[in-house]
Symmetry: C2
Subunit: 183 residues, 2 copies
DNA sequence: CGCGACATGTAAGCAGTTACATGATTAT
DNA sequence: ATAATCATGTAACTGCTTACATGTCGCG
């Protein structure tokens, strides 16, 4: 599978970057659906280098600090495009610990459920507010052949995901409260 | 973290089961948000046994075929409830390879994007149809202290997730088509 | 001069997938 | 008979997280 490999190749296909830059990218839009930390990125870059999918040259920041700026090769671009064009089946359903916990929530007293649900709710609302703020930067949908188009699509998806989670959490809270009244 | 440990304890807290039964459970409602296959379940059961959180007794199916039916212990129940009551922060954003691909979709020609998007769309619509069918079994919201309540909540969540994904996919298709007209 | 950001790496361990391996039971 | 399902395990490998480890640069 090696999704990280293609995530990195895709980012380097946008523009040359260092491992450090890549790890920052994974905190931005793309990070809503894929991320990795530096301890995974550096070894992967070494591997891509061995496979001749990337090359690097060293830039000096300041006096002596070396920065390896990686560039995708023609071979790398080909392999990336091959992966991107492939039609793959729907992936496995992603895991979610909080929903796993709610699956077992009949073992919790109602007050605890509501407390846990409200805590999740506030976190997701905060996250949604952050994402909505990012969305404000787009007055219009970016051109479909620009890098920004991908940014826009995944940001939109992340917002929709948060909105849906929030709707579900509110529904859960409501069901727990009504159910407890009925008793 | 050991989420699988608690998933298994929670299921055994519902009723005694074999490893085989557990792996089937992960294909039902709970499987929408957590799953594992038998190669992970059997070693985990052994570990739970070592930790004295479960015990088993052997049932014979047919003539000689042995079936290990696991039961949660009092210690196991306590540890499960401790985990369940804990208030944990929002987990990391789940990974999604298709959205990762769409992040890079400006490198695809419009026809390919639409083909890939429509393929995903049909798969998610099929999945939604299946889940909606499952939902029909509930004429009413189950009692909030029944096992079925958890089943209901996660099924509802899975349906909302599929609906949202479908809305997003349709939006992406529409954006790609309109954008290509404008050019 | 101290702190946060910049910058790159390795090691140990946990979690999860795929494949290997075996055998019994039930329905057709 | 034979295929699908029941039933239990192990081994090898991939992916990912957390911690270890080191050093520079720019700002206040």
């Amino acid at each position: 599978m090696r999704a990280l490999k293609y995530a990195i190749l895709g980012l380097l296909n946008r523009k040359p970057m260092s491992g450090y830059d890549l790890s920052k990218e994974f905190s931005s839009q793309i990070g809503n659906f894929w991320s990795a930390n530096h301890s995974q990125i550096y070894p992967e870059l070494k591997r891509l280098l061995d496979e001749k999918l990337v090359v690097y040259n060293i830039e000096i920041s300041g006096d002596v600090l070396e920065k390896k700026v990686y560039t995708i090769t023609e071979k790398g671009r080909k392999e990336f495009l091959r992966w991107l064009n492939k039609d793959e089946p729907m992936g496995p359903t992603p895991k979610d610990v909080f929903r796993l916990r709610m699956y077992f929530c009949n073992n919790l007293d109602v007050e605890t459920r509501i407390r846990l649900l409200k805590h999740q709710l506030s976190q997701h609302e905060e996250r949604l507010a952050f994402l909505s703020d990012e969305m404000k930067r787009y007055n219009t949908v970016p051109p479909i052949d620009s890098d920004a188009f991908g940014d826009y699509l995944v940001l939109d998806s992340a917002i929709m995901r948060e909105e849906t989670t929030i709707r579900w959490l509110k529904k859960c809270i409501s069901l727990c409260q009504n159910g407890s009244d009925e008793k």
